[in-house]
Point group: C2
Chain length 219, copies 2
């Protein structure tokens, strides 16, 4: 096999990945699944498509190995095949935001509509971390925390927050972060924290951006 054939096959494989993502519904499904697994019905409801159409898109994603499925009883639960899938998604979002002011504005408005506009920038968080002023919470799944996290951050996965609530100090500001600016895990966490009397705010972006900027991380 010559170089050209090698290349052709590599690029074809990569194009398959991209093609699987090249549809607005499927883009939305990826973001939805990045927040956790879901049934076909759940996905269809949250993306406002028909069940049959959602199923069809999910099968397209599955064929490209971007999502996996597990059957429990009557339900099929879909989830991301790998966090790398979300990394691709996030890189596209990052590109979209930089090349298109419209997208940045849309995301800003989208987050505003979730009533969670307040957030700290990476620079602000770095300052607070170095001054020991803020308690940093990583609310992503444990496995992703183990792959790398912001220095000094504690791992409290989103779905275990209530159990760990009592161990958190009320006199310190808490900054929660997750996978990126559109990821809802941190939004959910600060909502719960604020309802229980903590002072919590989210990092405006997520771990990938922090790491990419060269800010201090731990493994």
């Amino acid at each position: 096999m010559n170089t050209r054939d090698f290349k052709h096959r590599i690029y074809s494989e990569l194009a398959i990945i991209s093609k699987a993502l090249s549809n607005p519904h499927r883009m939305e499904i990826i973001e939805l699944l990045a927040q956790g697994p879901g049934s076909v019905e759940h996905i269809a409801e949250n993306t406002e498509t028909s069940i049959a159409n959602a199923s069809q898109h999910l099968q397209t994603l599955k064929a490209a190995r971007l999502v996996k499925t597990e059957k429990k009883g009557k339900y099929s639960y879909y989830s991301l095949a790998d966090i790398k899938v979300y990394n691709v998604w996030n890189a596209m979002r990052d590109l979209g935001m930089s090349q298109n002011a419209e997208v940045e504005k849309l995301i800003h408005n989208f987050r505003k509509s979730r009533h969670n506009l307040e957030s700290v920038t990476m620079d602000q968080l770095l300052e607070r971390v170095q001054g020991g002023k803020a308690l940093v919470l990583d609310v992503r799944p444990q496995s992703e925390y183990n792959e790398g996290h912001i220095s000094t951050a504690l791992s409290i996965p989103h779905d275990e927050l209530l159990q760990h609530l009592s161990s958190l100090p009320k006199n310190k500001e808490i900054v929660a972060y997750c996978r990126g600016p559109l990821c809802a895990l941190a939004d959910d966490a600060i909502k719960v924290l604020n309802e229980h009397g903590y002072r919590a705010i989210r990092l405006e972006v997520g771990y990938p951006e922090w790491s990419a900027k060269g800010f201090p991380v731990e493994n």
Copy 2:
């Protein structure tokens, strides 16, 4: 405008980016342009397509704002619109390699076919950097170096290497790196260095991988 409309527009914008990349030829063009600007003719030759076809694909990429074009005399020179485009490409390659052993093997063979298989892993380089044993060269364009680079690395852009050759020590091992495992800038650099009597080897991956792993970087 309600939340659903916001979302729909964001995801449509992201799908446009993905769609523009969802073709093997265009994937190859992105990788080619990541090594530097090129005319339509140059791109058509290197991707083994017709001029008209290459032009058509380039216009698709341009419409999605992934590449930009500059006219000089009779020639149109295309280049990546932003390094973030290559970040997306790289994230896809990373995903493709992890989900598909075939792709990893293909890339391994592809690099072998360029006679540049020898390389150091990130862990090996970290050890050498911390021991002060290796001189690290960043051969990407200066602008990308300024965005962030491996700790202790010197910036010697690929096309300025010959001018800076005399300032490099011959008694120290040199490790060159660029944008990723498929990026040819470091391959070219170590070829030149070895031809001039230096001991040079490349990092098997590139800056994005180094940074993502949380290894020491500088800005």
